[in-house]
């Protein structure tokens, strides 16, 4: 263990809540002072609130508080983050600089459209580059996250079927059993009934089951390609043809777009629409769980239903078109995650035509390398080349040593790596889903694989090391059952 590299978090004193550091009379910001006449607040506003229990701390204490908290939090800049399905790639610093330009950050969403030609240029620029990359006819940037994009796609599909008088009749959405949970949840959000479609032993969509499920009650199939098994669906064209022949639409879950950028275009596969996670594929930071950024792509038959306003070119200018009689309406307050679009624009222009394909080529190279290096200790779920992530199973350690995928993951934390995704997809037992991304160098991957091999040896020789992990962090394993039983979701002054 001693010769294995990795970042280990500092041992720290237990951090206090900010409320416990409060002292009456302190303030952490030099607030603007009024120079207009005083007013009688009760006369102007009516009854006023009583207490306002916000903490009172000085500015330096505030910064130390958050610096301490940052030291007990793991990000991509801390170390390797091979969280499958999440595409934890480097978030370039130049993106932060461009998004912070006053001409972008200080725009009010309801200021006159004539005063934001630069913003519209960014939006149309991102749209046009994503059209080139995905092969769709249209892109909208209004959805605010991946699941929000899925939901918007299903709304477009719903509006399309309604426009053909088949809205009521087509009430079923087919979702493979390997899909992300957001797929069935988004379908339910659009009032659809969800039917699962099984996956074959080889890891492909079960065509026999699909054929049996297809009839005139099916609104859509939601398919992730490459699938959550990290495999490209080789029958994709046939699948799209089958669904179209039954009058249904095919949605592509774009969580795995990183495997395809510059190499293959989902619009060419036969899909009708797709969501993209710009916070995965196009490097906008995840921010600890958001903001996401959920663009969607679609074919022209769905275009009339796009959420308004539609950003498009007209007579040599870029306009925000609100004259959209068939629109589904708004799905969010304004223009989408504009400052995230600035970051995505910056990223796309850094790669350009010349280098765009390098993204998918190195993402796939890295995943296959990890897969090859670990195959003897953690066998892949399928004996096929993987795409941008590899799905391994720890089933053998569970059977023989009582060690679960979760134990391996927690032990990885002790060695300074963020764990991969566990137990997803649900159809692979003791699943470890590893997505290295293209931004990791070979040395990091080698260190990670060395550690994984070591942990697998520990699983056999000293399994308690894994059961007790992690032991290097500010806390050990936490009691999640107690968290539900004794709900404590806010601090109270009385404590």
């Amino acid at each position: 263990m001693s010769n294995l590299k990795g970042f280990r978090m500092k041992r720290m004193p237990e951090p206090q809540l900010i409320f416990e550091q409060s002292s009456p009379g302190r303030i952490g910001c030099n607030v603007p002072v009024a120079d207009t006449p005083e007013v009688d607040l009760s006369a102007v506003l009516g009854d006023l609130r009583e207490e306002l229990n916000l903490p009172e701390v000085g500015e330096l204490d505030l910064l130390r508080h958050f610096t301490r908290l940052s030291h007990i939090n793991y990000g991509i800049e801390t170390g390797f983050y091979p969280l499958g399905s999440c595409t934890m790639k480097y978030n370039p610093k130049i993106n932060e600089k461009t998004a912070g330009l006053p001409g972008f950050a200080n725009l009010h969403p309801m200021q006159p459209v004539a005063t934001i030609p630069g913003a519209l240029e960014i939006l149309i620029g991102v749209q046009e580059m994503l059209i080139a990359i995905t092969g769709f006819d249209e892109i909208t940037l209004q959805p605010l996250a991946g699941a929000h994009g899925e939901m918007t796609c299903l709304m477009l599909i719903k509006a399309y079927h309604e426009s053909r008088g088949e809205g009521k009749q087509r009430h079923i959405v087919l979702v493979p059993d390997s899909a992300h949970g957001t797929n069935p949840a988004s379908a339910a959000r659009c009032g659809y009934d969800v039917r699962p479609i099984p996956t074959t032993e080889e890891g492909n969509t079960d065509l026999v089951a699909l054929a049996a499920a297809l009839d005139d009650s099916v609104a859509a199939l939601m398919l992730t390609n490459p699938s959550t098994l990290g495999l490209f669906e080789p029958n994709i064209e046939q699948i799209c043809e089958m669904v179209h022949a039954a009058g249904g639409q095919v949605f592509c879950d774009g969580a795995n777009m990183n495997a395809m950028v510059g190499t293959t275009r989902p619009g060419d596969h036969g899909f009708d629409c797709m969501h993209l996670n710009l916070h995965k594929t196009f490097s906008t930071p995840h921010g600890g769980g958001g903001p996401g950024c959920g663009a969607i792509g679609l074919k022209s038959h769905l275009e009339p239903f796009l959420p308004a306003p539609v950003i498009r070119r007209s007579e040599g200018k870029v306009i925000a078109d609100t004259d959209r009689p068939s629109t589904i309406g708004r799905v969010s307050g304004f223009y989408g995650q504009f400052l995230m679009e600035v970051r995505a624009y910056t990223y796309l222009r850094a790669f350009g035509k010349e280098y765009m394909a390098d993204i998918s080529r190195h993402a796939v190279l890295n995943a296959n390398y990890v897969r090859a290096r670990l195959k003897d200790v953690l066998p892949p779920a399928h004996d096929r080349p993987c795409m941008h992530e590899c799905i391994l199973t720890a089933e053998k350690y569970k059977k023989e040593n009582g060690i679960r995928a979760l134990d391996i993951s927690k032990r990885l934390i002790d060695y300074g790596f963020h764990p991969p995704t566990n137990y997803f997809p649900l159809i692979v037992p003791e699943c470890l889903m590893i997505e290295p991304t293209e931004t990791e160098n070979k040395e990091t991957l080698d260190d990670f694989c060395d550690v994984m091999i070591e942990i697998c040896r520990e699983a056999v020789e000293s399994p308690d090391l894994l059961h007790d992990a992690p032991s290097t962090q500010i806390v050990g394993r936490l009691d999640e059952t107690a968290a539900v039983k004794n709900l404590d979701v806010r601090w109270w002054p009385s404590k």
Binding site: S22, C29, V44, L45, P112, P285, G329, V331, N441
Partner: protein
């Protein structure tokens, strides 16, 4: 390309380990007719970092940004001071580049910060608890409406006409897709909801506080009307106004939502924002989105934080989940956390009080300049002016004088074509308000 560190030697060694001749070979499962050659997409050329920055700078300069004009535009997004500490904290890589805290032992920093966020959001709104954030104010309200239909098992909601028009548009989209009916409560006569009581069978009554016109709605009456129909009261509340106003919670609101942008988040053309979502304790199991809870170690006594009540969420419950939301707005929630701490109880009250003073002064000066105050109800930091000239013309004329005067309401309300919605935050000075008033007098001449 600095973001991809592979050398030729790396690629060769890695391919050898894999047992492949080339990277192309790794893509062999993609049918050949579906592959495109590297470098063949119709994209602009790559830019080096210097040229990239210059290019973006040029584009950004084409916009009129609010450093160049004096902003009296609000309508749900407010020009408020953002303390320098906010940017310093949210740009730290440990926060900025983290994923959702699925591994709590390695994510205690963020989890604790979100617990602090939940505490302060609930405190501001006077509610039992709050979640870890939603996308924005508009979607937060739509989620609250849907939550009320699943609690009350009735597919109808009532919403005041004085709720932000974009929020109502988002509500319409969500409700259309789920087959939920919307009843609109009139509010244009006096700028506040005329009658909070509504048709039978609604699951919730939705009002905004202060409302879109800046008027402070009568939440006691709204509560009473909702209770009479056995409906939930949903309040869309401005968090800064709640530093002074009686809280929605003190009136018995069931769910309180809002846009958290005024709490230290850049306007950024409206994205990313942060949706606030708070409710009564009894509804915690129906709440959408993530919630952080405090617990302790499984084999020890140290306290720690985890995401809790996870069985409500999509990755576990799939189509039976309370919502499809997965990613929320954690980074913006962190910004709001830093903001609320930096200002603290006295600072936030001062911001709110200064806004009220500035607003009262602006009402005096602007009405003296020839405009009429359309609605005379109590207001916090926003109000509607009726103008003797076309508001869009007036707005555009004032913009030539570097004043962003507000929002013409005609496009949103057919009967308010003479009206302009004006907001005055703590950032406006007496001088700026005087300049606005004299410019308005000139334009109205």
């Amino acid at each position: 390309m600095p973001y991809i560190p592979h050398t030729d030697a790396d690629r060769a060694e890695m391919l050898a380990t894999i047992g492949a001749q080339s990277i192309d070979e790794l893509f062999r499962e993609i049918p050949a007719n579906l592959r495109v050659a590297p470098g063949s997409l119709d994209l602009p050329p790559a830019l080096d970092e210097h040229r990239l920055m210059a290019h973006l700078w040029e584009i950004s300069k084409k916009n009129v940004n609010l450093a160049d004009v004096t902003c009296f535009l609000g309508a749900g997004i407010y020009d408020r001071y953002i303390p320098a500490s906010v940017g310093a904290v949210i740009s730290r890589g440990e926060f900025l580049t983290a994923y959702t805290p699925y591994q709590p032992e390695a994510s205690q920093g963020y989890l604790q910060a979100i617990y602090e966020f939940q505490t302060m959001t609930a405190e501001l709104y006077g509610m039992d608890l709050a979640n870890a954030s939603m996308y924005d104010g508009a979607t937060s309200m739509a989620e609250a409406a849907i939550m009320s239909t699943s609690i009350k098992k009735r597919d109808k909601v009532a919403v005041s006409e004085a709720v932000h028009p974009h929020y109502r548009q988002v509500l319409e989209t969500y409700c259309w897709s789920m087959g939920i009916e919307i009843v609109v409560l009139p509010a244009l006569e006096a700028g506040a909801t005329k009658d909070y009581s509504t048709a039978e069978g609604v699951s919730s009554v939705i009002v905004q506080y202060p409302n879109f016109f800046g008027t402070i709605e009568d939440l006691a009456a709204a509560r009473k009307a909702a209770t009479e129909k056995d409906a939930l009261l949903i309040v869309v509340a401005d968090p800064v106004a709640c530093a002074l106003l009686k809280t929605p919670g003190s009136f018995g609101a069931d769910i309180v939502v809002g846009e958290g942008q005024p709490l230290g988040v850049a306007m950024g053309l409206g994205g990313p924002m942060v949706g606030l979502f708070a409710c009564k304790k009894e509804f915690i199991r129906q709440i959408p989105g993530r919630i952080v809870g405090r617990t302790k170690e499984a084999h020890g006594d140290k306290p720690g934080y985890v995401m809790t009540l996870r069985t409500r969420e999509q990755d576990i419950r799939r189509e039976k989940a309370t919502s499809n939301i997965c990613t929320n707005e954690a980074l913006m929630a962190l910004a709001a956390t830093v903001y609320m701490i930096a200002l603290g109880k006295n600072g936030l009250k001062q911001v709110a009080t200064t806004s009220v003073r500035n607003t009262q002064y602006a009402i005096q000066q602007l009405t003296a300049a020839g405009a009429t105050l359309k609605y005379t109800g109590k207001s916090f930091d926003e109000f509607v002016l009726e103008l003797p000239k076309d508001p869009t013309f007036v707005r555009d004329e004032l913009l030539k004088r570097n004043i962003l005067a507000g929002l013409p309401l005609g496009p949103y309300y057919a009967t308010l074509t003479k009206c302009l919605l004006v907001a005055v935050t703590e950032l406006r000075s007496k001088d700026e308000i005087d300049t606005f008033a004299s410019a308005l007098a000139e334009v109205l001449k």
